[in-house]
C-alpha cells in the first residue's frame, strides 16, 4: 500500500522538476530555442555577460531540478518489473538507460553556468563551453534508445495485466518517439537550417515529442497506480 | 497461383506501377514555365493518389471506421495542397 503511494509521490516530484527545468531553460537561460550556431565568439561572450545573472541563476535552479528522469525511471522500473517474469532484464535495461540519459539533461545547464561564470576570460573559451552545452543537449541520443526500446518491448509483449502502466499504444508511441529522436545527433554536421541545433528537426520536434512522451508516461503510470492502490485497499 | 494473380491487390499494384511510369514519363524539365508547373503539379497529385491507394487498399482503410479513414484522407489532401501551395507561391512564405 505504501509503495503505490510512494511511487505516486515520486512521479509528481519528476513532473514538478521537468516543469521547472523547462521554464528555467526558456525564461532564465534563454535557450528555447538555442541561439544560432553561426554566432561569433564575441557575440556569444556578449550574450553571457549581458545575461550573466539569469544564466547563473538558471544553472542554480537546474542544479536542483534537472535530474527529473531518475525518479520517473525508478517508478517505471518498479512498474515494469511487476509485469516481467524471472530476472526483469528489460526493466533493468530501462533503469540503466533512464538514469544515464538523465546525465545529459544535467550537463547542459552546468556548462551554461560555467560559460557565464567568468566574463573576463577570452571569448573563444566561453564559446567552446557554450558549444559543448548545446551539443550535449541535442546530440545525446545513445541512452534514450535503450530506455525506449525496453519500454516498447514490455508494452507490446506483457499485455495480460489489466492494470499495467504500459498499454500497447504506449509501446507504439515510444517506438515513434525513439525514431524521431535519432535526428538529434546530426547537429554535429550542420550549423543552419532545420537540422542545426536550433532547427525544427533537432530542437523543436525532439523536445516537443520528448515532453509529450514524458507526460503521457506519467499519466499512464499515475492511472495504473490509482488502480493498484484501489486493488490493495479492497 | 490464379488466386494470387487475379485479385484486387494485383489490380491495385498494376495501377500503382502505371501511375509511377506515368509520373516518370511526365517529369521533364526545361519546359516553358506554365508547362513546367503543370508537369510538377501532376507529379505531386499522382504521388498523393498513389499514397491514397496504398492507404485505402493495402492498409485496408477503405473498410476502416470512418474517423480513421477521414484522418488519413484529410492528411493526404492537406499535405498535397500544402506542397502545391509552397511550390507555386514560394514568395508568399
Amino acid at each position: 500500500m505504501l509503495s503505490t503511494r510512494s511511487q505516486t509521490i515520486i512521479i509528481w516530484w519528476g513532473l514538478a522538476f521537468i516543469l521547472i527545468y523547462g521554464l528555467t531553460l526558456g525564461f532564465l537561460l534563454k535557450m528555447v530555442p538555442l541561439p544560432s550556431a553561426h554566432l561569433s565568439a564575441a557575440a556569444v561572450a556578449a550574450f553571457y555577460s549581458a545575461n550573466r545573472f539569469q544564466v547563473r541563476l538558471g544553472a542554480v535552479i537546474c542544479s536542483y531540478s534537472s535530474a527529473f528522469m531518475v525518479p520517473l525511471s525508478v517508478v517505471i522500473y518498479v512498474q515494469m518489473a511487476r509485469l516481467e517474469k524471472g530476472v526483469p532484464i528489460w526493466s533493468i535495461l530501462q533503469l540503466a538507460g533512464g538514469c544515464m540519459m538523465s546525465i545529459f539533461l544535467v550537463l547542459p545547464p552546468l556548462f551554461w553556468g560555467v560559460a557565464a561564470f567568468n566574463p573576463s576570460r577570452p571569448p573563444e573559451v566561453t564559446l567552446i563551453m557554450h558549444e559543448l552545452a548545446n551539443l550535449t543537449l541535442t546530440t545525446t541520443d545513445q541512452y534514450y534508445i535503450f530506455q525506449m526500446v525496453a519500454i516498447a518491448v514490455v508494452s507490446l509483449t506483457q499485455t495480460t495485466d489489466p492494470h499495467s502502466a504500459f498499454p500497447r499504444w504506449m509501446g507504439y508511441f515510444t517506438i515513434w518517439a525513439a525514431i524521431m529522436f535519432e535526428a538529434g545527433a546530426i547537429a554535429f554536421m550542420l550549423k543552419s537550417g532545420p537540422f542545426a541545433w536550433n532547427g525544427l528537426f533537432v530542437f523543436w520536434s525532439p523536445f516537443t515529442i520528448f515532453g509529450a512522451w514524458f507526460f503521457a508516461l506519467a499519466f499512464t503510470l499515475l492511472r495504473a497506480l490509482k488502480h493498484q492502490a484501489r486493488l490493495q485497499a479492497a | 497461383m490464379h488466386s494470387i494473380l487475379f485479385t484486387r491487390p494485383t489490380a491495385v499494384w498494376l495501377f500503382l506501377l502505371f501511375l509511377t511510369a506515368l509520373s516518370v514519363a511526365l517529369a521533364h524539365d526545361g519546359l516553358p514555365e506554365l508547362a513546367q508547373h503543370i508537369v510538377t503539379i501532376s507529379v505531386i497529385v499522382i504521388a498523393f493518389l498513389k499514397v491514397r491507394l496504398v492507404g485505402l487498399e493495402f492498409m485496408e482503410l477503405r473498410t476502416a471506421p470512418l474517423p480513421l479513414r477521414a484522418v488519413f484522407e484529410t492528411w493526404v489532401t492537406l499535405v498535397c495542397l500544402g506542397i502545391l501551395l509552397l511550390y507555386l507561391f514560394p514568395a508568399l512564405f
Binding site: P167, R168, W169, M170, Y172, F173, W176, I179, M180, E182, I186, M189, L190, G193, F195, L200, F201 | I4, T7, P9, T10, V12, W13, L16, L17, T20, S23, V24, L26, A27, D29, Q36, T40, V43, I44, I46, A47, F48, K50, V51, V54, G55, E57, F58, M59, E60, L61, T63, A64, P65, L68, V71, W75, L78, V79, G82, I83, L86, Y87, P90
Partner: protein, 192 residues
C-alpha cells in the same frame, strides 16, 4: 458467410494503438515534405541544379521494389486469413527480398554520391536528401525486422485471431514505409 459479415462491419486495421505510431510518423514526414518544398522555393536554382546529380533509375527501381513488396504483403495477409500459413510465409519472404533490394540500391546510390564528393554538408538539397531518405531507410530496416517477425508468426500451425491481428500490424507498418517513399521519390527525383 461469416467472413463476409465480418468484413462488411468497420474494422480497425491492425490495432488501435498502432495508429499512434502510424499517424505520428505521418505527421513528422509531412513536416519533412513541407520543409523541403519551402526551402526549394527559397533556393529554386540551387535545388534544380542539385537534382541533376540524382540517379533517377535508383529512385524508379526502389519505388517499384517497394510497391511490389507491398503487393506481396497484401497477398500474404489474405493468404494468412484464408488459413494458408505456408503461402503467407513465402509471400512475406518475397516482400522481405524486395525490401533488401531497396536497401542495396540505396547503399549503391549513397556510395555513388560519396564518390562524386557529395555529402550531407554539400548544400541544402543534399542535406534534406541524406537526412530524409536516411530516416526513411531506418524505417525500412525496422520494417525488414517487422517482416521477418511476420514470417515467423505466419508459420504457426493454426492462425488465431491474435496472430492475424499481429500480421495486420506488420503489414500496415510496411505499407506506411512504402507510401512515405512514394512522396519522397516525387519530391526529390521528379519535382522540377
Amino acid at each position: 458467410m461469416q467472413t463476409n459479415t465480418a468484413r462488411a462491419a468497420p474494422h480497425i486495421p491492425g490495432e488501435e494503438g498502432l495508429w499512434v505510431l502510424v499517424l505520428g510518423d505521418m505527421m513528422v514526414f509531412s513536416l519533412f515534405f513541407l520543409t523541403f518544398t519551402y526551402y526549394r522555393g527559397q533556393e529554386a536554382a540551387l535545388f534544380a541544379q542539385s537534382q541533376k546529380a540524382m540517379n533517377q533509375y535508383c529512385g524508379i527501381i526502389n519505388t517499384v521494389l517497394l510497391l511490389t513488396s507491398s503487393w506481396f504483403v497484401a497477398n500474404a495477409l489474405n493468404a494468412a486469413r484464408a488459413g494458408m500459413g505456408a503461402r503467407a510465409q513465402r509471400l512475406f519472404s518475397l516482400a522481405g527480398l524486395c525490401g533488401l533490394g531497396f536497401v542495396l540500391v540505396k547503399i549503391f546510390e549513397y556510395s555513388g554520391k560519396f564518390h562524386a564528393g557529395i555529402t550531407i554538408t554539400t548544400n541544402d538539397f543534399f542535406m534534406f536528401y541524406f537526412m530524409f531518405t536516411g530516416i526513411h531507410l531506418v524505417h525500412v530496416l525496422i520494417g525488414l525486422a517487422v517482416l521477418s517477425y511476420a514470417h515467423r508468426r505466419a508459420g504457426r500451425a493454426v492462425l488465431q485471431p491474435a496472430d492475424l491481428s499481429a500480421l495486420e500490424c506488420c503489414a500496415i507498418f510496411w505499407h506506411l514505409v512504402d507510401f512515405l517513399w512514394i512522396v519522397l521519390f516525387a519530391i526529390f527525383y521528379l519535382m522540377k
